[in-house]
């Protein structure tokens, strides 16, 4: 505990006895340090125990485990040094505004002279702007005014710590906004330390220095702590323009949605159901809305899952790849469509947690990505990467941001490779930011990003809607690069080997279906449905684009490869290329045990079994070196020397990634 720490919550646990016997574990393992002068928000779904946590800091409720220290002393009872502002104001209705405030003052400063007492009361009534209402009874005041009185009452006794329990929850939006500004101003002026419970995301971002997100109960814990780096004083109308605002906001919303999804998932029975000789036939399959999810949609619509015995496959639409990662980490997803870089990324611990081995037995799509630059750049004559480099040099005063969907996606790696090979440092000359696809289009429209690299339909949409111009396609960077793969946890694959084969078969058959241009129209129609992409059919295309305004894919080749020789079989060389690129940009350390990692990631035997049982030719493994547009070969024999010789790279490290012994999922 540092001297600046005011509140120190250690290993806090709260167990409520239930009326019908037993206990409800509300909170578990809460650790939180709050510095003096800090404003903390506690956010989470109803019933996650955020008010319980606040009450325990206040001393209104005592923990069943762990301690709360305020100023180094264990909280055993409530006290005026930890003043609480309650959601329903808690004014005494038979006392006037002045008397309500006086009640608190008299308790804390019993010997105060009458004149000072009056002055103190008046000062705080004025502070919250209620100078004219001192003699009124609470029932004569509006909700917002009552809450202001409650705040004045709390501040009048100069607490060390101000605790607010959804203080503005019951107010209308306008009043809430005004009160938020007032509270912020008072907190700034008096250097108050405050903890606020809220479920309003914008309120949390506006007011807080840090936002503590609590997971759902039972046994809620701190899921995430976000630092709000928006400088003070803040204004409600201007914070929204701060670059961090929307990312913080979407981070919290993502967190809350994730909690909701986990809750919904937990509400349903998840007993492993075995049938048809398969270990598990009830599968939750994650995807995000992109044209490359077509094989999943087709497998569902055309009954390929059921054909191979998987009669209870449920497609789970995530809004970002992060949802897929988290779904794997918390076990709510059985398998997912994922960017081809994600298996190595998660296996090497790129998500920031323990390395989680992921297995892929099928490459679902290749190609399908493009780099789009904003229309305003095209209007200034930026039509090639050389133009862009020159344009960046002439506009080096402003920050330049390019959007990617995920650090482990091919979009990031291809974009970086392309920029670096063209003399643009992807970290120094521009800034690459992870954004959800829909957000990218909005950002491109309002000019906060220069462009992005993403899969369809987002490039076609940008050009059709006139916000962006495609500048380079992946066919020109690396024709035939792996796009999306089928990923499962290694432990899952070991526990359900026959299910894994069946899933691979179903999707491989769907890939074959999707590769036929005769089916593209039907696929576009299917994907246009709300369950998948939820956008106009015309915006979803799989083939070469020609004739339309943003004419592209100059080689006239199919834009998405779903099936064919060498298309679907997982390739260790490709995953090694991804591994070296991720290390090159310091997303992960380069694993010294890369051979073991690749061995465990690429499950060729499952693919071969699936292909053989479908009667498809076991397509040969591409042994040749990978060659990208710059003509630099990558053969995978000496990745470290390759890394040392690429012109632009970050300071990468080489480290052993401990994966442990492969172990099947416990039933």
């Amino acid at each position: 505990m540092t001297p600046a720490t005011l509140v120190d919550v250690q290993e806090l646990e709260k167990n409520f006895p239930l009326s019908g016997g037993g206990n409800y574990l509300a909170l578990k393992g809460i650790d939180l340090e709050i510095r003096k002068g800090e404003f903390i928000s506690l956010i989470g779904h109803s019933g996650c125990g955020k008010s319980t946590l606040l009450n325990m800091i206040a001393g209104l409720d005592l923990p069943t485990g762990g301690t709360v220290l305020v100023d180094g002393e264990t909280v055993k009872r409530p006290g005026p040094d930890k003043m609480v502002v309650f959601q329903n104001y808690s004014l005494l209705p038979w006392l006037t505004v002045e008397q309500n405030i006086a009640l608190a003052i008299d308790e804390v400063y019993p010997g105060l002279a009458a004149r000072e007492r009056t002055a103190l009361i008046q000062e705080h009534i004025d502070m919250v702007g209620l100078g004219h209402a001192g003699h009124k009874l609470p029932r004569e005041l509006s909700g917002g005014m009552r809450q202001r009185v409650a705040i004045a009452r709390a501040l009048a006794i100069k607490p060390k710590l101000l605790l607010l329990d959804e203080p503005f929850g019951a107010l209308d939006a306008l009043t809430r906004g005004n009160l938020q500004e007032k509270l912020m101003q008072i907190c700034n002026e008096h250097q108050l330390t405050a903890v606020m419970v809220t479920h309003d995301v914008d309120e949390a971002v506006l007011l807080s220095d840090r936002i503590v997100c609590l997971t759902n109960g039972p046994g809620s814990k701190i899921g995430n702590i976000l630092e709000v780096d928006i400088p003070r004083p803040r204004q409600r109308m201007t914070v929204v323009h701060h670059p961090s605002y929307y990312s913080l906001r979407s981070e919290i919303i993502y967190f809350l949605n994730r909690q909701k999804r986990v809750k919904q998932w937990q509400a349903k029975p998840h007993k492993v159901q075995a049938a048809h000789g398969l270990e598990k036939v009830n599968l939750d399959l994650g995807f995000i809305p992109l044209a490359a999810c077509a094989p999943l949609a087709i497998a569902e619509a055309k009954g390929f899952f059921a054909k191979h015995g998987l009669d209870q496959v449920h497609l789970v639409r995530e809004t970002s790849w992060r949802g897929v990662t988290d779904g794997f980490l918390d076990g709510t997803l059985d398998a997912a469509l994922m960017p081809s870089g994600m298996p190595v990324w998660m296996t090497a611990g790129g998500h920031g947690g323990t390395p989680t081995p992921i297995v892929t037995a099928l490459t679902i799509s290749r190609n399908g990505n493009e780099v789009t630059l904003a229309k305003r750049l095209a209007e200034q004559g930026v039509n090639s990467v050389d133009d862009y480099r020159a344009w960046l040099q002439s506009h080096n005063r402003e920050p330049h941001t390019l959007g990617i969907v995920h650090p482990a996606s091919m979009h990031n790696l291809l974009l970086r490779y392309w920029l670096a090979a063209s003399g643009i440092d992807p970290d120094r000359d521009v800034h690459l930011q992870t954004l959800p696809p829909a957000q990218m289009l909005a950002d491109l429209k309002d000019g906060s990003i220069d462009g992005y690299c993403i899969g369809e339909p987002w490039n076609l949409r940008a050009s059709r809607e006139g916000h962006g111009v495609p500048i380079v396609g992946d066919l020109e960077i690396w024709n035939g690069h792996p796009g999306k793969v089928l990923g499962v946890r290694e432990a899952w694959a070991l526990a359900y080997p026959n299910t894994h084969v069946a899933l691979t078969k179903a999707l491989l058959e769907a890939c074959q279906f999707c590769a036929d241009p005769a089916h593209w129209d039907e696929m576009a129609e299917l994907l246009a449905d709300r369950r998948y992409l939820g956008m106009k059919k015309e915006l979803i295309s799989f083939g070469a684009r020609k004739g339309s305004k943003g004419e592209f894919a100059p080689h006239g080749e199919p834009h998405h490869l779903f099936f064919g020789r060498g298309v679907n079989r997982p390739s260790r060389t490709e995953h090694l290329w991804i591994l070296t690129q991720l290390a090159r940009w310091a997303e992960i350390p380069f694993p010294r045990n890369y051979v073991e990692i690749l061995e465990r990631i690429c499950n060729i035997s499952v693919f071969s079994t699936a292909a053989r049982e479908l009667g498809l030719d076991d397509v040969s493994y591409q042994r040749g070196a990978i060659e990208l547009f710059d003509g630099r070969p990558f053969d995978g024999n000496d990745p470290i020397s390759y890394l040392n010789h690429v012109s632009v790279h970050r300071d990468f490290s080489v480290a052993e990634i401990p994966l442990g012994v492969p172990r099947p999922l416990a039933a």
Binding site: L60, P78, M83, F86, W94, L103
Partner: protein, 282 residues
């Protein structure tokens, strides 16, 4: 169908009512029905008495019987002993009520707070309270007489024991119903129990306490009549009625009943007014 000409023709005919006419227009719906109701009832009563359907004297007998008219118009005379005007009888009754009721209020509020604050006490005594409150006023009279061996304290005891239950039960409920928010405020401010009592508990439970007091004043008044009727020899309105009955002064009984009703109503209104005065803001 032409609608355009209608407003201009009708406007001139109606002058808006003013003064008394306006008052009458606004209030007639409140005044006419009770007059009709009470008048009808009195008429029915008088008719049935005049036609000999019942032995009970009709309302007009208050004026026609000389004895009764005297009692009606001269309530303040005192010829010594039990021969007094109705006002004096009533005052005797009221003073008994005041004593018993005050005792009941003090004990009832104190016990109610104790029971409301303490769950253990509540569980221990609640069945007893619920049981005792169901005992009828008259049933208490013999017990009171055995206990006190004397009419005067026995009558006061009956009033006390009848009127304490609503006060006690309502006070306890009022204390139990103090919102957790108010308790939290007291907790956070670390109020002493004395301050909590005066600043939070009493004001918060006041509405309930007054509800109990108001119910009890009615009960106390009911009880006194019962007590006095079975404990003759003491001046009081109950005795007056019993005495009139013994002497077959039927119209006197009617007059006594009218007094009882009127005083009961006044007491209730008085409590209602006090309640309004003392606990505003709720």
């Amino acid at each position: 169908m032409t609608t355009s000409s209608a407003p201009t023709t009708s406007r001139g005919d109606r002058t808006p009512p003013t003064g008394l006419a306006l008052w009458w227009k606004n209030n007639r719906k409140l005044i006419v029905p009770p007059i009709l109701g009470i008048g009808g009832f009195l008429l029915f009563w008088q008719l049935s008495a005049s036609l000999g359907l019942t032995k009970l004297a009709g309302p007009l007998s208050l004026f026609t019987e000389e004895r009764t008219r005297e009692l009606l118009f001269y309530p303040f005379f005192d010829r010594g002993g039990l021969d007094k005007g109705l006002f004096l009888h009533s005052m005797s009754s009221l003073s008994r009520v005041a004593l018993g009721y005050t005792l009941a209020a003090i004990v009832g509020i104190a016990a109610g707070i104790a029971v409301g604050l303490n769950k253990g006490l509540d569980r221990a005594f609640d069945p007893l309270f619920q049981f005792l409150r169901m005992v009828a006023p008259l049933a208490w009279v013999p017990i009171a007489l055995v206990l006190f061996q004397n009419n005067q304290p026995a009558a006061i005891f009956v009033i006390f024991i009848i009127s304490i239950w609503p006060i006690l039960i309502n006070t306890a409920e009022g204390v139990r119903q103090i919102p957790q928010d108010y308790r939290n405020v007291a907790l956070v401010l670390q109020m002493s129990s004395g301050r909590f009592f005066t600043k939070v508990l009493i004001p918060s439970a006041l509405l309930y306490i007054f509800t109990g007091l108001r119910i009890s004043i009615g009960l106390a008044w009911l009880a006194i009549i019962a007590a006095e009727i079975v404990m003759p020899g003491t001046p009081g309105i109950g005795f007056f009625i019993w005495d009139a009955y013994q002497n077959s002064y039927v119209s006197d009984i009617v007059l006594g009943v009218v007094w009882i009703g009127a005083i009961g109503l006044i007491l209730d209104r008085l409590m209602a007014w006090l309640q309004q005065r003392i606990s505003p803001g709720q």
